[in-house]
Symmetry: D2
Subunit: 345 residues, 4 copies
């Protein structure tokens, strides 16, 4: 018996990725799709401008869109809502007892809302018990460019510690949703600005790597500086990363740390869990968005070009699929872990 789930904001670009991933999922079954009032009552297949290369499942295409109001039959609800409305709607659902697993930024820093990357801080789940929503709760997935970064840092932090992180991103247009970035703005161009993005990358890792306590999450002390750019790439965020370590490490130690890294999702053998959450690939020109973004269902963070840095200790390049690992896939992985750990009863 699969668990019935609903998707809020199902017509957008992240919503479509949720539909794609959950259309044929061993744990979950899409029962309801919520959209803006404008699309209420339409068939999903008619209301959505399907942008994925996969074919939309006709059964899903025929689902009638509901309003995003807390009268869903499914108790488990994925949110791909725009941040302009997500805050309130998600709260309404939680108050009515729904389990909201959200990709939106609104509640990420709420005191008892876990901000989770399942390979890093599944233990933050326990915070939900202190949420003021009765039986319901909200759990959040971090920002797309944060997820790749923290996954690449996790094995290093565990073994050697990190003092400071510098990151410059080159992010795909799908990260801005649909219609998102205008073609006139990005063909033959790079835009050195993404609203709010640098702040997210500089703050979210502190909570993700923090310690869950009675009073919420005690943030990790780590200095991070980020610069974010939009590039003419469909999917896949590439990030140039520099780190200053607490303890000395050789390049081969880092590569070993990445390639041997496994965590609870791998042990539980969760459906969306990649074999390698972080994978170092050799080849001086790798990783590249077009070639590596879909590696292991789009859930592996690929890493390359590790070399010494005269200003930090090391520099390297990471790549993660922003709408899969960084959004719908990562959020689904949270739900899978919740299910296996008996949070979805």
């Amino acid at each position: 018996m699969k668990i019935k789930v609903g998707i809020l904001g199902a017509t957008g670009s992240v919503g479509q990725r949720f539909v794609e991933i959950l259309s044929n999922h061993p744990f979950f079954e899409i029962a309801e799709l919520g959209a803006s009032d404008r699309n209420f009552g339409k068939k999903y297949g008619e209301a959505t401008n399907w942008l994925q290369q996969s074919t939309l499942d006709p059964k899903i295409a025929n689902l009638i869109l509901k309003k995003c109001e807390p009268d869903f039959e499914s108790r488990v609800v994925f949110s791909a809502l725009d941040s302009s409305v997500a805050g309130e709607i998600e709260e309404e659902f939680a108050k009515k007892g729904y389990y909201v697993i959200s990709n939106a930024k609104n509640h990420r820093f709420d005191k008892f809302v876990p901000l989770v990357v399942p390979e890093i801080n599944i233990n933050h789940f326990e915070l939900v018990k202190k949420q003021p929503y009765g039986g319901g709760f909200i759990i959040t997935n971090p920002n797309c460019s944060t997820i790749g970064l923290v996954l690449s840092l996790k094995p290093i932090i565990d073994k050697f510690g990190i003092e400071s992180v510098n990151v410059v991103t080159m992010q795909a247009v799908s990260g801005a949703g649909y219609p998102g970035v205008a073609s006139l703005d990005i063909i033959d161009n790079v835009i050195p600005f993404i609203s709010g993005e640098e702040e997210k990358i500089e703050t979210e890792p502190k909570k993700i790597f923090g310690k869950a306590t009675e009073d919420g999450v005690k943030l990790l002390e780590i200095k991070i500086s980020a610069q974010c750019n939009r590039a003419p790439v469909i999917d896949g965020h590439l990030e140039c990363v520099q780190v200053k370590l607490k303890e000395k490490a050789d390049a081969k130690d880092l590569i070993e740390a990445w390639n041997n890294f496994k965590a609870l999702p791998q042990e539980l053998n969760l459906p969306m869990a990649p074999k390698n959450p972080t994978l170092y690939i050799y080849g001086e020109k790798y990783p590249q968005p077009k070639l590596h973004r879909s590696y292991d269902k789009g859930m592996s963070v690929t890493i390359g070009r590790l070399r010494k840095c005269s200003l930090f200790d090391y520099k390297f390049v990471i790549l993660s699929h922003n709408t899969i690992r960084g959004a719908a896939g990562g959020t689904t992985l949270i739900a899978e872990a919740l299910k296996e750990l008996n949070y979805l009863k």
Copy 2:
């Protein structure tokens, strides 16, 4: 009376920019074009795959291509040669008494070969007197991604000093020449590697900012770390820069330093000299390659997004036109300065 000049490597993408700039220049007149043996004897207009948006001057189109051998009538020779052949050919010309002004990397670190950005170190010109070529000499233009960087650093170094520089570039495909980057490699992609580029950015500034002495250039001590990426952009290198200053400065001090910066090329009113070698532009999304690369004949380095940095002191974004300011335009500006300072007699 204009000075007759030759162009070596005239059919390539930088060679074409030389042709474009010198076709209607107040000081110089294109008299001879040199190309590979394969194209020897053909008309320029037939041998070149003209890639510029401007129309090729029919007079130039009809010039018959010569071999790149030191039997040119013009004593002043611009080199846009590929580095695989530039080293030897340029030396042959210099030995025969030619003034070689080169965009190739080969001789940039020769002891008495100036590596010049005219707004920074015109005084290095004097080194040529020690070159072992009799009356001829070689002067070099730096790498395209170096030029934008050092120009943006110059006004800051002058006023506040710089301890260290971190830079991540997003570089245009025209920087790789023609045919250069394959479309299969770069459409919907970013490539986090450009062969030899990071080494150039990390070393060339030390010579450019160095001091000309009897024994060549005493390098400036400054720590630089670079990470270079290729993006699907035709022209214009965008760079995310971070600096640690020697003395404290407010953001407005830096902006003032950039916007007030003038040097000898501006005083001499040289034809290719931009009014502002460095120009800060407001607007949180600026500068952008498509919008600002051609500013002031493509010779201004535009700068934006200045903000505090938790790891360095400041971070900002710079943009420069790689085949104009970073190649043919910068090299022409060197020639203009040489002429006005009586080096081309």
Copy 3:
């Protein structure tokens, strides 16, 4: 003394081209800019997302945006309004005595509204006398993809007559305005549909080539079939054209017809008139949007690849700059002709 003009819809992508062309025009001077109510009262430089590579004139940047209501001081008004509002607003202006020269589609087929390409049917201007607006009038510029086509057909129709025309277009994203085409839709893609475009190309030429009579324009009988595609190109519409002639002609006759074609705008030496309205360029790969769209101020239609066709008589490729020749430039040329022919008093 320049004629003061206003621009309606000045912030959009065609509006910006009007600003660019009219900022430094020998006949006209921008006195007023109209925009949507949302932008009313703002400075133009702040309200517009300037997309052009040229620098916005600071004098224009400081103009305060007016509402698009008929209280302009300038009697001559250019319209770059969106068709959702253009119909009504343009009529209001005309009724109040303004001379409206419009790029919008709304009034193109009004009985006494000329639809003009100045090299083809300036004589349609006389129709305005029958317009029901008192002293004011509306004159329209055709659709961007129509203009290139009819210009390329005009010299052939004049000499040999044309029975039928088949055209397949590959159109630039700037033709859809701003934000227009989403980058997610067009990177690594071609879209074989542009709403309403095929109908425009199939009908507008019949009026442009028609005969002005007492009862409006008697349409030319000519069969046209069009298929329209959107390609990832910033500016420049490329069109594959096939024609069946009424009289036999050699390829060289057609080329001669194009290259010798001149009309009243050339004779009057109007500022925006290209030397050659139609120019055949040799080279089997030409014309190309990136290389030839800006030829002669972006006002020449370049033509190439003429060859026999087994189904029609000839096939060839044409290129025209869609926001210059096909929009703001073409409309300005109409205004220049109106001025020289004393319609703007």
Copy 4:
């Protein structure tokens, strides 16, 4: 027991598609890879610049590249050779008794060499018995842009007959191989020329639709005119097609013909055979390369926008994956049919 096969020209872009398709194939097993002398002796994984999004099978990556000489152990050999060398090499292999199934153009019009699209003319296979190679033979796959076209025409020809066909293509850069089209040539551009392409589309269908006789193939009489363009698309050829029918047909008749079309590969249930060789998809903006090229393993030709045409009878848009259906996939389908029909013993 799988049949061992070799691939000639395995490192190129079509060669890589062969490797991808044959790496895990129920009938065939890659035993040998041939490449140019330059790469002879290297491991495949090191010699090839792997451009596919799928991961290269490590077993294949470790194969040592052989010269393209007829000393292969596998009797079945796929050729992805460049046409500059394919003619001679393929003949050498055939003479030594190899079964050569080629994607190259060289032997397509040899008298007894079948030019096959398996859904159309499998019966041409019998011609191989007359080839002058002893036991070996050569069978060819048509040009990539031809295959989509003829498949879309086949169901119409069968039911209503076709008098003439007009086609304008917008072709992906992968069709030009690797490195193929330079990024400087195609970013922000469309190139209205592909060498030799129009001739192929205008002639190959006549042989494919022809009748196999004692004297080779009697060509079908059908008038075809083609115009070919290169667009900035990675994979997927889009074609605007117009047809004049022999018998009247309604739009719904054509759609039915396409959607019901099945042939021998479908009956034999061949591994690469798509469920629908031709599939009409509704939606006024479809098909699109990015969205539909990979439909049914990249083997379906998707069709859309059927509408009446004033110059022909109907116009419509087709899309096919040029390196799968149009190259390695189509060629593999030929091999599968050969195997099932006992030609590979």
